[in-house]
Amino acid sequence: MSKSNEHKDSKKETFAAPEGYFDQFASQLMHKIEENELKEAAPLLHSIPKKEVYAAPHGYFENFRVEKTVVREFGSLRRWLYYASAAAAIFILGYNLLPTSELSSEKTEVTLADVPDEELNSYVGEELPLEINEDDMHELIAQDHLSSFSIAAENDELENYILDEMELSDVMYEL
């Protein structure tokens, strides 16, 4: 090794840069250039304070959990429940309205007439618990299931209605 090289090697940098300074330097410089470009190209946009405008509800991130086992390809459970509820409501409404609004009584009679009596008796006997005995009534009253059938009327009003609207023979029959 020559003397001049030895001399060069013995020279040391006096001022050391802070750790990581040069790693950041290039990106900071680039950022500065881009900011200046934005200022020149879009002064209005540049003058607007840059901030995240959309805030998550309070506590959202603390409670956020990934539902790893749920497949959510078709949207959220919330949305599915919403559509399912709407579909169920439409079905119930349609089911209740259809016999009176859409089907004529004649058509219903024909349809029922087509069903053999044996089948009707069997269906009614097996599927519909039409017979309600005294115990069942007590049960229903106890559970308040008959509240929808209560009549909101005073005794005087009932008396007037019976006298005005019913034949005396019918009243006598009822008594």
């Binding site: 680039m30 190209a41 607007i48 959309y54 959202y60 749920v70 959510r72």
Partner: protein, 187 residues
């Protein structure tokens, strides 16, 4: 608590029996950033939550095949962006309306001169961004809000750096023009 580096998190994930814990830490580390990436595109919080779920579920499924030479952040960013764009393609939501709802616009808002430090100018900026085509909107958000390098954006969007620079430049010009017009109308 000191936040673990991506490398440490991935090492933990690959350890036997530690995958769930590692993934939970990854979610904690990146959930806020991903929330903003998605929310800026979808505006509505509930939609954002749905897409957040999808994003992290896909991450959970794909993490075992994740290339460790790539950055976890850009990988998640890519999934979040793709999921958001897929959601938008299926959704029929009016984003302008969602933006207005968020800022709760009064009848007088459009006729007043906006305060540049206030919410109204932020509202107008969001409206301006919403007028951009979807891909341009993604590019604008990446550069303007997240200050990503073009190289990172290129990795996320599979688009050349040159095309991204051009796209961002056009987006900026459009937003500036929109802001100028709305301010002229207001004054």
């Amino acid at each position: 608590m000191i936040e673990k580096s991506d490398k440490e998190l991935l090492e933990l994930f690959h350890k036997s029996g530690e995958a769930n814990q590692a993934f939970d830490l990854i979610v904690r580390k990146y959930q806020r950033k991903m929330y903003q990436v998605i929310r800026r595109l979808l505006v509505d919080h509930d939609d954002t939550h749905d897409v957040m779920q999808n994003t992290f579920i896909k991450a959970w499924k794909g993490l075992s095949n994740f290339r460790e030479d790539a950055q976890l952040y850009t990988w998640l960013y890519r999934i979040a962006t793709n999921e958001s764009l897929t959601f938008l393609s299926k959704s029929k939501k009016n984003l302008q309306q969602s933006i207005d709802d968020y800022f709760e616009v009064s009848d007088h808002a459009d006729s007043s001169v906006p305060d540049f430090n206030g919410e109204e100018i932020q509202h107008r900026l969001q409206r301006a961004i919403e007028t951009l085509p979807e891909k341009q909107r993604v590019v604008f958000n990446m550069k303007y809000y997240d200050e990503l390098k073009y190289e990172e954006m290129s990795e996320i969007l599979d688009t050349s750096v040159g095309a991204l620079k051009a796209s961002y430049h056009i987006a900026v010009k459009k937003i500036e023009e929109y802001l100028r017009q709305t301010l002229n109308q207001a004054s």
